[in-house]
Amino acid sequence: MDKFSVFSSRLVDKSENFTSGHRACQGCAEALAVRHVMKALGRDTIVAMATGCMEIISSPLPLTSWKVPWIHNAFENPSAVISRCESGMKAMMRKGKIPQKKINFVAMGGDGATADIGMGPLSGALERGHDMVYVCYDNEAYMNTGVQRSSSTPWGASTMTTPGASWKRTQKKNIVEIMAAHRIPYTATANIAFPEDLERKLRKARSIRSGLRFIHLFASCPTGWGFAPADAIKISRMAVLSRAFPLYEVEEGERYTINSGGDAPVYDYLRMQNRFRRLSDGDIAMIQEHVNREWERLNRKARG
């Protein structure tokens, strides 16, 4: 058994705040990501979650997978809900109605809940400057309703509403840049294939006690993207190594730090997934050009 023991898994917190027995698909990278996020955030956390896969799999009345206080209200508003959990607690602690306690206020939503329908409430919470963490789980489409395109779906991907050869012909919305433009203290991308990096970023987000901290978490989806459940981590890793989803941090909207490298061809990443199977080699060459351009742009920012 010692042969199979790896170093990094020993670094992970053993406590579980998001428990097993939920209803996620086999190979769901997002559920795994939630588990690690909750390890990093710890027990003194209140979570507000958007409607979506993670809500549906974890809270069929009267069951729950959550060991922390958890609230689901609607699709577009976890940022608004948690912002007032924060304010309500703050007011009650100040007035002596409840004892003082350090609590992490965390909103979670998918890419649809974050980059599409919930953009207004999220931007409002950012502007008001609440002490909270927002985690966006990005599986690049509306998976809970059966794989429809979102603004976070990348160019070239087929979904149920960009079907077959009519694959999506607009680029993925860059939510991180939108967040950074709000000049919030901390924005970072993370990926479940790099759990140490992911947990470090969550802990860092937790430790900053003012303003909204935003984590953009890449989560591969076997059901929506068309790959074998066993490949969920491999594909997530390839997204980073091919620079399609680079790992980086932005502090105060201006200090960029890149945390990932790799120069795998994006071809290798795309060809692992059914959603890109209609693309010609020429199409993929265009994606490679786009990825290169974005990588160069990111590096320019990181150089300052």
């Binding site: 009345l61 959550w66 609607a74 309500g88």
Partner: protein, 392 residues
């Protein structure tokens, strides 16, 4: 007991009441005609007279979301809206009730677009009639002020745990300067102590709120809401009774004026009750046996009180402030017909829709409506509704 009588704008009196209620969180978004309430609250908080979090949200949808968040952690929560704002928050308005989150809303009633209009009627509140909130209609500034305290008391009662809307007519009440008796803070604290919600979100006692329901449990969840709203009735009556014992101002789910020996009664909700009473006084002097029935508690609907007040009358002339297009009449008349259907001694109902989007309904108009309605009732013309004052 030190009370103070002030000549004051009703919106400001209401904001002062919210401050006296020692709320923790106020969600505010500007919309006419409720704006003065949240404007004044922002001043109160800025002046340090009230220790609360004042949240200037980016939309009403977020205002209601914010209220859900703060109520879920057990904070005393207030918000205020009107018309389009209510329409935008409607999604979360329903969810707040389903999650049994106590809060009080001042709903300054205003017409819904389109055409766009900022003026008063009841089309906004009728849209959310079935959301599972407690709905109270008030008639004047004093009732607005008083019902803020009664509202929190009812909403936060551990047996109830439901959001509550105080419906006040936009402009007619919100912008009116009236004498309002203020109670001292000691009386308020006695009536409305700080409460700690039992299952609030807190890491020391983790709970999951807002779980989704499969078909095998959704029906039961709805039944539990139905029980919750229906069974809130005795607590509401008790809360009003205790307020009356403290202040001398008593409220009832259905109130009547000169109705005991009346053959015909005009039925109103909200600020119209005041004018109706004056007109009834005048008509009584002319020998007409008329009275007024005012519905204060809209949800839960006070069936027994209503039936007791009207069974045996010849006819009711019901004034609605909203239309159900292509439907049987105004929403109030429709409900009252349903409440009386098949009951021995049930009066017939003549339905008028009047005062849409602030169209003035004067004393003279009330008189016309009562006399015309009576004539219609005598001729048996009791179907559908009449749009009063329609031009052309």
């Amino acid at each position: 007991m030190a009370t103070q009588r002030k000549g004051i704008e009703v919106s400001i009196a209401m904001a002062d009441a919210v401050a006296q209620a020692n709320v923790d969180v106020i969600a505010a978004y500007p919309i006419t005609p409720q704006t003065h309430i949240v404007e004044h609250l922002s001043e109160i908080v800025a002046n340090g007279e009230l220790d609360a979090e004042y949240v200037p949200v980016e939309s009403e949808h977020s205002a209601m979301s914010v209220c859900c968040g703060s109520s879920a952690v057990g904070a005393r929560t207030f918000t205020s809206t009107s018309s389009q704002g209510l329409a935008l928050m409607a999604e979360i308005f329903y969810i707040a009730a389903s999650m049994r989150l106590p809060m009080v809303m001042a709903l300054a009633n205003r017409s819904l677009s389109g055409p766009l209009s900022i003026w008063n009627d009841h089309t906004d509140t009728m849209m959310v009639r079935d959301a599972g909130w407690i709905h109270i209609f008030v008639e004047n500034g004093q009732e607005c002020y008083d019902n803020v305290f009664c509202g929190f008391r009812i909403s936060e009662d551990p047996d109830i745990m439901l959001p509550l809307a105080i419906n006040l007519d936009g402009f007619i009440l919100t912008h009116m300067i009236e004498p309002v008796i203020y109670e001292d803070n000691e009386t308020i604290r006695k009536y409305l102590p700080d409460v700690r919600m039992k299952n609030a979100l807190h890491p020391d006692n983790p709970v999951s709120m807002g779980c989704f329901a499969m078909p095998e449990i959704y029906t039961e969840a709805q039944m539990s809401r139905e029980h919750g709203v229906r069974n809130s009735y005795p607590t509401i009556v008790k809360a009003w009774q205790e307020w009356g014992d403290l202040t001398g101002r008593y409220y009832k789910p259905v109130e009547t004026y000169r109705a005991d020996d009346a053959d015909y009664c005009i039925v109103t909700m909200g600020s119209y009750g005041e004018t109706a009473m004056e007109v009834v006084d005048a008509l009584r002097e002319e020998g007409e046996k008329v009275g007024v029935v005012k519905i204060r508690l809209w949800r839960p609907f006070p069936f027994d009180d209503f039936r007791k007040a009207v069974l045996g009358k010849k006819s009711l002339i019901v004034i609605d402030r909203a239309i159900s297009f292509g439907g049987p009449g105004g929403p109030v008349a429709t409900e009252l017909r349903s409440a009386l259907y098949g009951k021995p001694g049930a009066p017939t109902i003549v339905n008028y829709v009047a005062g849409l989007a602030g169209r003035d309904v004067s004393r003279n108009d009330f008189k016309n409506i009562i006399l015309e309605g009576k004539a219609k009732a005598e001729k048996g013309e009791t179907d559908g509704f009449t749009l009063y004052g329609l031009r052309g």
